[in-house]
């Protein structure tokens, strides 16, 4: 078996580690992989071209940009921050843990596209998280802390989505599992497959909620340090 195409994986890892331009790294990795597999240049170009246009769904989020761009011009993020500022009792942990729970439950009911990075995280959850964190601190947040908070908001969306969706029996993953075993002569009840996603779903909620709480404690501690250090 030809294992040389694995060099493509190495190219991606090396390129990302060396912080070369990611788009170029990825395209190069594809070319390297194809050449290592012994493909001719015309075949490789064709593969690259058809694969590219087959993955156009990965660009759909761009359609939210005109809306979000316009609303942000008129102060969407500022409004999100004001809104959170007014709810004194909503700190970062409560906000993100609630979002985690909501996202997970919506996923369990198959409502996967209601929330998401373009739909809810960028316009609403991320700015609200920054505001909620600022709420509970005396010293302003540093740029690094802001980025970490936004990244955690995105991470929370992912965890909520991934570990809720398998509980929904009509979800692709459940159907894939069911279909696979069926092809191999084992009849399973999709409901069984869905139910067994629950233990992990609960574990995911607990683990990630604890991490959000820890992040909040760290932010508060940093605040305390700054206060103590001030003359």
């Amino acid at each position: 078996m030809n294992h040389w195409p694995l060099i493509g994986v190495g190219v991606v890892m090396l390129g990302f580690v060396l912080r070369l331009n990611p788009v170029l790294v990825v395209v190069s990795a594809g070319l390297v992989s194809g050449l290592a597999a012994g493909m001719s240049i015309p075949d490789l170009l064709e593969l690259l071209g058809t694969s590219f246009v087959s993955n156009r769904t990965l660009f759909l989020f761009v359609l939210t940009l005109p809306v979000i761009g316009l609303l942000e011009h008129y102060g969407l993020r500022e409004q999100a921050q004001r809104f959170i500022g007014r709810i004194r009792s909503l700190d970062l942990a409560r906000l993100l843990i609630s979002y985690l729970g909501i996202r997970q439950i919506l996923s369990m009911f198959g409502l996967l596209h209601v929330a998401g990075h373009a739909q809810t995280v960028r316009p609403l959850v991320a700015p609200m998280s920054e505001a909620a964190a600022a709420n509970m601190r005396n010293a302003p947040l540093t740029e690094t802390e802001r980025q970490q908070i936004r990244a955690m908001a995105a991470a929370t969306d992912n965890v909520g989505l991934f570990f809720g969706e398998d509980v929904f029996i009509a979800f692709g993953a459940v159907l894939l599992i069911h279909g696979f075993f069926q092809q191999n002569g084992i009849e399973l009840d999709p409901l069984q497959i869905a139910i067994w996603a629950l233990p992990t779903a609960i574990a995911a909620f607990v683990i990630h909620a604890m991490r959000i709480a820890r992040m909040q404690s760290r932010l508060k501690a940093a605040d305390q340090e700054q206060q103590d250090a001030a003359p």
């Binding site: 058809t50 809306v67 316009l70 011009h73 739909q119 809810t120 609403l124 067994w196 996603a197």
Partner: protein, 322 residues
């Protein structure tokens, strides 16, 4: 019937306008960049169909286009976030419009939900309005349009302004918006060149199949590793379950297949949290949230992923053997 292709044409139009504005501003490199993308979105379906019929030139030209995109991107610095308007303008807008800004923003998720749920019942004459093959994606596209109208009404802005704001955002995000799509493309190339098969063969040759613990760990690690390489747990599942889960766990050690399947897939998801190849989940948000570190989301996630993985291994070991 509204097809996904029409949504792609909309995107193509947006990209074409962006390309033209860049041309006017004499930014020739980025103009070409957006123009190539606009062509990909306009002619994508034809490219695939022609290639299937044996006419490979359009696909090959598109391949050259992809390489050009990589070259152009590499000649540009990492895009820096630029905010829209002045802070004073934005604060004024927030004061004037208040919560109505949220209403417009929330149209996207809510309209998507409503359209997806009602898709089986929405008919145009005798045909379904929304193509049943991609209901949620088309719903998302339509919801964006509806949200755009809501935004026009609420802000009182001229419709053209949303185009200029959108393209300003697009140019701000720059070549980074392409990263998710191009990573996914790489996944397709890897599949075609057999990288996936290589990974599963190499894994299969190193397991001690007598020990139940070893098999559980091998299955779990196999799912994670394969998912990390391919960016997709769905791609990993049939390969790793056929290679390790089914023969060793279910058949040799008598594990419950429903539990093996469910937990195996979920362990794969832990891998999805770790890999830049899962571009939709890990790189799109880094781009959208204007994080200078493109791994920022993965950095925020990996402790959850590792902890859950360990949890899943334990759960699998306890629950799977009856």
């Amino acid at each position: 019937m509204l097809r996904l292709e029409y949504i792609y044409w909309l995107i193509s139009a947006f990209l074409a306008v962006t390309a033209m504005i860049n041309l006017r501003e004499r930014r020739y490199g980025m103009s070409l960049f957006w123009a190539i993308l606009a062509a990909a979105f306009l002619f994508g379906r034809q490219v695939i169909q022609l290639a299937e019929q044996g006419q490979r030139l359009p696909a090959q030209l598109m391949g050259v286009g992809v390489i050009l995109l990589g070259v152009i991107a590499s000649m540009r610095p990492h895009p820096a976030p630029v905010e829209s308007g002045t802070r004073a303008e934005r604060e004024l807008g927030a004061t004037r419009l208040g919560g109505r800004l949220f209403a417009a923003a929330l149209v996207i998720p809510i309209a998507t939900l409503v359209l997806v749920l009602s898709a089986p019942y929405l008919k145009l004459g005798s045909q379904l309005l929304i193509d049943p093959k991609h209901p949620s994606l088309i719903a998302l596209g339509l919801a964006c349009l509806l949200a755009l109208v809501a935004a026009w009404v609420i802000t009182g802005a001229r419709p053209a302004q949303s185009l200029t704001e959108g393209r300003r955002l697009l140019d701000t995000l720059g070549w980074a918006v392409l990263l998710p799509m191009v990573l996914s493309t790489l996944g397709g190339v890897f599949t075609a060149t057999g990288v996936g098969d290589s990974v599963s063969v190499l894994l299969g040759s190193v397991i001690a199949t007598d020990s139940r613990v070893a098999c559980v760990i091998a299955y779990g690690l196999g799912m994670v590793l394969f998912t990390v390489v391919m960016g997709n747990a769905f791609a990993a599942f049939p390969v790793i379950t056929a290679g390790i889960g089914l023969p060793f766990l279910v058949i040799q050690h008598g594990a419950d297949p429903a539990i093996v399947g469910a937990m195996g897939m979920l362990t794969g998801y832990c891998g999805t949290l770790l890999t830049p190849m899962a571009a939709n989940f890990n790189i799109v948000p880094a781009v959208l949230l204007e994080l200078p570190d493109q791994y920022a989301v993965i950095r925020a996630q990996w402790p959850t992923a590792i902890a859950l993985m360990a949890c899943n291994f334990l759960l699998m070991y306890w629950l799977v053997f009856r």
